[in-house]
């Protein structure tokens, strides 16, 4: 695989991240549901799985950085979280798991649950806002479910795109059954 093709692919991923980040931050999308699904999280999981740890981490960090620009949280929270998710997913696929839809679902659930739990714990429970159970049931849990379901379209779309791109590059897809 040439350097040029690789750059093209990463650039394409970056454009997809940028578009989804813009959609995710539009007031229209945020008012769509009380807790709209987080578009960038499952995408980072997919990129981690298909691009592996190094590129997964870079793409995750880019997605998190874009997210942080419209976030009230401490700057860098999403960058670190998504970078870690992209990297860990890549490492797990390289060393421990096979790249299938089932593992995709498993990794996505783990990543989303971890993100939501940390968010709930550090940005809601620890500051002592109250209504902890209500918040978890009515906001965090529906958002977790909605975000998790996104793995279905994301996984197959990313897999198809990666196959096409690798075919164009003349290579074969590593580890994809």
């Amino acid at each position: 695989m040439g350097r040029r093709e690789f750059n093209k692919r990463i650039l394409l991923h970056a454009v997809v991240i940028l578009i989804l980040s813009l959609i995710q931050s539009t007031p229209w999308y945020c008012n769509l549901l009380p807790a709209p699904p987080l578009l960038l999280l499952p995408l980072t999981v997919c990129y981690g799985m298909f691009e592996r740890e190094k590129d997964g981490a870079v793409l995750g960090a880019f997605a998190g950085l874009l997210w942080d620009t419209s976030s009230v949280r401490a700057f860098g929270f999403n960058t670190v979280m998504l970078m870690a998710i992209g990297c860990v997913c890549g490492l797990l696929i390289t060393h421990l798991m096979r790249n299938t839809f089932t593992t995709g679902m498993l990794l996505c659930f783990g990543a989303v649950a971890l993100y939501q739990f940390i968010d709930w714990l550090f940005y809601y429970v620890v500051p002592g806002y109250g209504d902890v159970g209500y918040a978890f049931l009515h906001l965090w849990l529906p958002q977790l479910a909605g975000t998790f379901l996104l793995i279905l379209p994301y996984y197959f779309t990313v897999r198809y795109c990666m196959k096409r791109l690798r075919m164009l590059e003349g290579g074969r897809m590593k580890g994809l059954r």
Partner: protein, 301 residues
């Protein structure tokens, strides 16, 4: 020549001419409208002529449609162009009207609070993981905006700036559980409290005024305004109206559920107050006394 004059063909021609002439003279002398020949000929020719005329008309009409089509096409193109131009003007008109509305509200606030310096801004993004309606605006430190600057609309208070970047800023709203605004009832002017959001209320688009004393006379429908204490928010900015009053869990004080005057979840334009009298901690004596008295009364109760 002689042979031709003697031929049968010549004789027939002469006979025909003679017949025609005779008929002509007879018609002329008798004054008849048409000759029998004409009539007989007309009987045969007229339907044919009608048919031909009809075909001709149809052909003419057919080709006329083609030529008219060209004209119509030109007219349609012209009308489409006109339509595009009018639509564009309408969009401009809507934009101008929106700007006009914004400047009107700006002027309204400006005339009410002459000490304010404003920076109009537009809501550009929101964070789906934030539960309290926080949003990002398109103005930052380059436009003179700094941390803690209050954000308002013509309707009322929205929140304050909690994060500043050179070209954008993040606004924390009155629905946020992290916000604390010293507020009072504009009707009684004596009932004070602290406006803080909660997750369950923010889902309904409401916030709460906490620490109301047990003797508080706050009533449903009262308008809640800022006190100006603390120097973050200017005094007498409308926060919202009282929707409901309940006892706190500890039964020591009560709280009022407030419906914010500004539609927090559907904002498009806001004003950032970059400067006002008393910004940064200066408070008026009257308000200080008021708050102190209320706090003392609450602790005694």
């Amino acid at each position: 020549m002689r042979e031709f004059l003697k031929s049968t063909q010549f004789k027939i021609m002469c006979a025909a001419v003679a017949v025609i002439l005779t008929v002509g003279i007879v018609v002329h002398v008798t004054g008849a409208a048409s000759s029998p020949g004409d009539s007989a000929l007309g009987f045969i020719i007229t339907p044919i002529q009608s048919a031909v005329t009809s075909v001709s008309d149809k052909a003419s009409s057919f080709f006329g449609v083609w030529s008219e089509n060209e004209q119509l096409r030109a007219q349609v193109a012209q009308l489409q162009e006109q339509n595009r131009s009018l639509t564009s003007q309408l969009i401009d008109y809507d934009k101008v009207r929106q700007e006009n509305d914004m400047y009107k509200s700006y002027l309204g606030i400006r005339s009410e609070h002459e000490d304010f310096t404003f920076e109009p801004a537009m809501v550009v993004s929101r964070d789906p993981s934030n539960r309290f309606g926080a949003f990002t605006i398109n103005k930052g430190s380059a436009a003179g905006i700094s941390l803690w600057d209050p954000v308002i609309t013509a309707d009322g208070l929205v929140g304050y700036i909690c994060n500043v970047m050179p070209t954008s800023s993040v606004v924390r709203t009155v629905l946020d559980a992290d916000i604390s605004i010293a507020a009072l009832d504009s009707r009684t002017r004596g009932d004070t409290g602290v406006v803080t959001g909660s997750i369950s209320l923010s889902m309904e688009g409401c916030t709460a005024m906490n620490y109301l004393s047990r003797t508080s006379t706050v009533a449903i429908g009262d308008m809640i305004v800022t006190t100006g204490v603390g120097g973050v928010f200017p005094a007498d900015i409308l926060i919202g109206t009282v929707k409901n009053i309940s006892k706190s869990d500890n039964e020591v004080s009560s709280y009022a559920v407030i419906e914010p005057a500004a539609d927090i979840y559907n904002l498009s334009d806001v004003f950032v107050i970059t400067g006002f009298d008393g910004q940064g901690g200066v408070m008026t004596e009257a308000v200080t006394e008021n708050v102190t008295e209320t706090a003392t009364a609450s602790s005694e109760n």
